[in-house]
Symmetry: C2
Subunit: 205 residues, 2 copies
């Protein structure tokens, strides 16, 4: 297997963090989508032109970062970051989605639509982006309440929900969305950030 | 079990369609989130104030429509709409995400930000909404290519990817995003629309 990534893509970092948590040795291949040649070759790997993509040993490809994580979790041993029992799997899936749809994606969108360095890459709508900022900030009290009762977003164990939530928080902070007012959230971000899997995870953000 | 829904919520329709496909008899409870009283009571069910939510027999709740679908598929018999083998599950998950993130959600967002009747409910950014329209339309050639080679989005069998994709197409069409130029997409929408599970699925859209 090989994983096609770009150091600028927060979605790729989710897979990288999962690989490290599970101590899976999958080589990373950096793709430069600003190069016309690499872009053309990549179209056969993922017609949506997004990283990451996972090349399987038989030569087929899986894309969509969460699907790649799910696949890697299924073909490898414990810890299972999508949970074991149905109750665990359901809680983890629910919190992963909340973290993704209401924090991770809004934080990325906010950055795309407001950061001066991304003006050339995106048609920016900074006024609309404020609604993404509010959305991300709106999830914090909910996450805070959850983390007051459980050590991790998905419950008792570290899971894919923490990976998505943690990277979402880091992206939000990088783009200037304040997240640190809640003590449980602050403690959780710091605690996840101390894991081996989080070390030097962010080359650019 | 009981499912809290709102007839205006496309996310709730995904669960309703899955229930029908699997012939599961789960009572639906309509929630009117414009009523102050119902809204207050609903906060304990889902702090994010979104429908649908599934009440389990032991009195706990699951929210996030896809997580509810996943749970219901796991506790019930065949057909398994998230797939059986790992290869099937991976293809279905990948296409479900593409359909959700690049068609279903953009179509809903486009409508929220452009429909005159929703002006009071949303701070509308119609210029930004055009990017959502382009995004939804951008997935069509990819879906079209997929459906030229496979009868269903996830592969050989009807799956949750078709549910998300079909409802996404219906929402897009309702809000005036043209989807019908591709023959395979047109045929697939029509074919899915003829299933028992799709009958009178759309009270409002």
């Amino acid at each position: 297997m090989r994983l096609f990534v770009s150091p600028m893509a927060p979605n790729a970092l989710r897979v990288v963090m999962l690989l490290r948590e599970k101590r899976l040795d999958v080589p990373l291949v950096n793709i430069d989508l600003s190069s016309k040649e690499e872009k053309e070759a990549y179209r056969a790997i993922n017609p949506l032109m997004q990283v990451p993509a996972l090349e399987l040993d038989e030569g087929s490809y899986v894309s969509e970062s969460l699907t790649i994580c799910q696949y890697l979790d299924a073909v490898s041993g414990a810890p299972h970051l999508f949970g074991e029992s149905l109750a665990e799997r359901t809680q983890i899936a629910m919190w992963e989605r909340r973290a993704e749809l209401m924090l991770f994606i809004p934080a990325v969108e906010y950055g795309h639509h407001t950061h001066p360095a991304l003006r050339a890459a995106f048609h920016q709508f900074p006024d609309w982006a404020q609604t993404m900022r509010s959305k991300a900030m709106g999830l914090l009290p909910i996450i805070s309440e959850r983390l007051s009762a459980h050590p991790y977003l998905g419950g008792n164990d570290f899971s894919i929900a923490d990976i998505t939530g943690y990277i979402g928080c880091r992206v939000a902070t990088f783009f200037g969305i304040p997240l640190s007012e809640s003590a449980p959230v602050k403690e959780w971000v710091q605690r996840i950030g101390q894991r081996d899997s989080a070390r030097n995870l962010f080359p650019t953000i």
